[in-house]
Symmetry: D3
Subunit: 238 residues, 6 copies
Amino acid sequence: MARADGRRPDQLRPVTITRNWLAHAEGSVLVEFGETKVLCAATVEAGVPRWRKGSGLGWVTAEYAMLPRSTNTRSDRESVRGKIGGRTHEISRLIGRSLRACVDYKALGENSVVLDCDVLQADGGTRTAAITGAYVALADAIAWMRAKKMCPGNPLVTSVAAVSVGVVGSAPMLDLCYVEDVKAETDMNVVMTGKGDFVEVQGTAEGAPFDRAALDGLLDLAAAGCAELTRLQTEALA
Amino acid sequence: MARADGRRPDQLRPVTITRNWLAHAEGSVLVEFGETKVLCAATVEAGVPRWRKGSGLGWVTAEYAMLPRSTNTRSDRESVRGKIGGRTHEISRLIGRSLRACVDYKALGENSVVLDCDVLQADGGTRTAAITGAYVALADAIAWMRAKKMCPGNPLVTSVAAVSVGVVGSAPMLDLCYVEDVKAETDMNVVMTGKGDFVEVQGTAEGAPFDRAALDGLLDLAAAGCAELTRLQTEALA
Amino acid sequence: MARADGRRPDQLRPVTITRNWLAHAEGSVLVEFGETKVLCAATVEAGVPRWRKGSGLGWVTAEYAMLPRSTNTRSDRESVRGKIGGRTHEISRLIGRSLRACVDYKALGENSVVLDCDVLQADGGTRTAAITGAYVALADAIAWMRAKKMCPGNPLVTSVAAVSVGVVGSAPMLDLCYVEDVKAETDMNVVMTGKGDFVEVQGTAEGAPFDRAALDGLLDLAAAGCAELTRLQTEALA
Amino acid sequence: MARADGRRPDQLRPVTITRNWLAHAEGSVLVEFGETKVLCAATVEAGVPRWRKGSGLGWVTAEYAMLPRSTNTRSDRESVRGKIGGRTHEISRLIGRSLRACVDYKALGENSVVLDCDVLQADGGTRTAAITGAYVALADAIAWMRAKKMCPGNPLVTSVAAVSVGVVGSAPMLDLCYVEDVKAETDMNVVMTGKGDFVEVQGTAEGAPFDRAALDGLLDLAAAGCAELTRLQTEALA
Amino acid sequence: MARADGRRPDQLRPVTITRNWLAHAEGSVLVEFGETKVLCAATVEAGVPRWRKGSGLGWVTAEYAMLPRSTNTRSDRESVRGKIGGRTHEISRLIGRSLRACVDYKALGENSVVLDCDVLQADGGTRTAAITGAYVALADAIAWMRAKKMCPGNPLVTSVAAVSVGVVGSAPMLDLCYVEDVKAETDMNVVMTGKGDFVEVQGTAEGAPFDRAALDGLLDLAAAGCAELTRLQTEALA
Amino acid sequence: MARADGRRPDQLRPVTITRNWLAHAEGSVLVEFGETKVLCAATVEAGVPRWRKGSGLGWVTAEYAMLPRSTNTRSDRESVRGKIGGRTHEISRLIGRSLRACVDYKALGENSVVLDCDVLQADGGTRTAAITGAYVALADAIAWMRAKKMCPGNPLVTSVAAVSVGVVGSAPMLDLCYVEDVKAETDMNVVMTGKGDFVEVQGTAEGAPFDRAALDGLLDLAAAGCAELTRLQTEALA
């Protein structure tokens, strides 16, 4: 079963992580998974949302969006339509939850980090690229905070990376590009810590329902992919 | 590890499925998982959304909402706020995807079924109760369509049921009620067909990330729970 | 002039008032006028809206909504459309005004009660059923508050009930069901206190304008209907 | 009981009806009830809303709004807030229903008239002034249509006028100005045809509930007021 | 090159400025440039927007809107559409900036003036009429404030007037009416102080781009027009 | 008067124009004016908006937006706020008008080009950079269309470039960066064709009003700046 771009089934696309892509943000990364390009900006804000005030705990949140012409055909802006679509909401929430998994709120103090993940170009796997890049932007933002003595401790307890896996033409494959994603019978996004534990597992039967063996195979692939992404994050931050 | 209501870790809450709860809908079910009560209404509409016209294929979609006082403290109406929240969007999309997994679009013909799942009372597991009840409402609506000779074939290829599982105080537990859900370190919603395959697996580390063994334990619990719910659906439809 | 369901012109549909239908709300009622079913939930909130702070006075407000498939054909959710329709606004305001008529704000203290009236099934008269049921939910909520010593006095100065009347085929009729409502030349909603005074009179010529004699006849019918509903409310609260 | 401006209890404020106040509209009226000034514009549009197409019947609708500084203190624009308030909705609907009562849809043919009633200055009774003025604008628009041979018959079957009445300090009074309206225990808006029949009766107990005798007294006052307004409309159109 | 209404190319339409057109506003003007009629209301509010609190400085802002039937064909209300269009936003911002040019914030103290400019009838040049009229309303509002001793000094440092100019059929013309505006190749709005300086210059090539000589000719015309408007404002305020 | 970055008053910042920055768009440019970076994507769509159908003429439109962290402090997303701000509207409209000035609609045929200008990083002059870059993206998109034989003729009649000028500390300066823009007394954006004619002139007195001599000086600076930008566009397209 040959892949669209000649990769092995268990092979990631070329991944590049460019730090400090923006001048103003406390942390920023242009992350590329093949043709997928996501700009991740981490903004540090003193203070936390109202419902969390006085708790001594920090907060991390995320917003995901796609530029109108990041995709093959242009889509309308959500600002013009006047509302955010379900997919955008769902992915923003996923990114926020994922990044919160590597943060010690107490060590962060009553500060917030907002992670803006804007897809400049989309070719499948935008949410997993966003999580992988946002972690690096978050790490830089936290380093900036620590240099400013804003945090009572070290808020970063582990790292977080994400990858998509799927069954395409009965074969399990790692890091699907768009043409593979469209054909996938099962599609799974897996978020893992640098220690190899799961933060989020989201598997969906796009075509036929899948059995336990297929699920196990996909989880194995994803674990290997996340380990490789963790290595690339570490390298980038070195 | 005793549960809030004295159940065994692998035990469902009392489940009741009341068909034909509404007079007007083509299929309707009041489903109860303990104190959680969801009203599921299936509406049959001739025709399909614009993007699907002329395909010969049908469509199934879902909308989920909570009454303002279904919860312990009142929450504002989304109609009053003027926009649908991320959680609502996410769950509506999950229910729609789950129900589409049991439908043969070709056999449905160019007809649509809308599944409205309104939570009258919430005590954890509203989305899984909604999916479980919506399947029965959908089955009734499809029976109604077939009696009217609207469908070229039998659109129902399998059944679908869903249950939540989670790790509470280190112990894996089935069908979490609200007080358990709040304390859960890991929370997973699993949707399965009547044949025992997976339609959707969504696991989230609310507290500490989880390892493969914990994931496997939760999947085992969920599979047993879904099998029991499938049995109750079959009984209700008998 | 026979009625659709064989009732006498001056006869109410079977009315049932089920208290404590919900587990969480401070007062809750499922009220049924024939096939019309409205779930009324009363929520007690300490404090009042900003414009009323420091006045020593309480506040009562209401929100009305219909489930999408409460009606014969499905209607879109107002949350999905992103705005509340004129009819919804109008009825919410009517219910709020009506219930405020039986409350002594001073005796309530600076507390609020929100009355959520959600139509689960509609067969005409949803707003009058809502008012009639909401009164019982409000009475229960106020009893709950008094048990908690939240109120400086007894805020309930009278009771409130409502009924629709109309001219159908030249004949005045009480408590119109949907098929009668559609054919009515004149449609009137009347809200009265338990003492027999008027709180609100809203009469509309749907077909031909009506004269004073017709108006008088309808008011007589309504007064008798409200008296009967007051009796049923008293019974339910006993 | 002296009135704020020295009027007798059964006396209207000075009413002026200025036709053709706008250059573009097919009918337009600046109507003044004392200090209340409403600009009513009637727009003729060929065709009817989608749901009425092919019926051979016309349609009349209305929109009401207040300029931000029509009132004593400035209120925010509904366009800026992004949504129409309940009161605006309610009054727009009332004006539309009222004007439809004097129109024969069949004689109108498949044409629409939109009545825009914009309050330039408010001093109580804006909705009743709007209805009274909108009738004259509608009559002019229909004359314009008939001159253009757009209508199969004469669509104007009667005239329509409206006035507010209320109980202020126990005394029934006609055509309340703002300071009276604020003090009114009971507030009623009555819409009547030129023939003396009722189109709409909306009475509200703002303070204490009211009895049948009070209601009867208010209806008498309103009938006399509407008859006088009908005379002024006829004069203006002569 | 004859003009639609027989004016000379450098001639304004008849301009009338009627002060105190509204009873409630602190300053109000009905300004007419030929058939264009704009109602300008100035509202004084103690305090400033949040971002300016504690600065000791005042604020002036403006909102522009058109009545639905101010134009030749009816346009939908922005409140009904639920959002403000780009043109409205642009003109509101222009009016606000223009009026702020004649105000000394320090002398105004921490007070705000809101200028509502509502177009009752449109025949070209609504934004320039609005600015010209709003200045007079602002001057009246400031006089009102000074009479109340609300201002630490005299906030009015100069006057402001505005006019449109354009190239129609190769000829530069002053104060375009609608039929001229539609045909204009170049369209320019110029805002000037009473001292003859520029506050805002907005020139747009509607048809062919324009050269420096054309620009210079239009600026000369506009300067003469603004000087004449300044004279009329002074007269009106005398 | 030294500039923030040591430039001469009549000197542009370093300008780079990178074509084909995106894989999917028919034309795309990353344009940089110093630290200001705008991504311009041109999308070709067969057909025109409804109001233009059947005219035989094409259409060009634009949308401008800023990423939340393109600026020094993060700003909320307009999609999250649910409405587009006045500034965004104003700039989108300016870009659209400017680009339409270089297009022959007839030669374009009934096709549309949408220009999306997304500010990735802002340091003053984002709208002028956007126009300058969008022209190049448009030229590429039109070349793509002509290669596909979509256009009846050559739609590109000239080129378009834009630059900001302003008076800072009494000195006229070209191409203001953010710190200069904030201090500018007068701020002007000028759009010119490659032939040296004006498309749009927008000058605003931010501080003191300006006289004709100052205006003339700014126009001279802008003309020279636009000529240099035209040269860079030509080079980029070579």
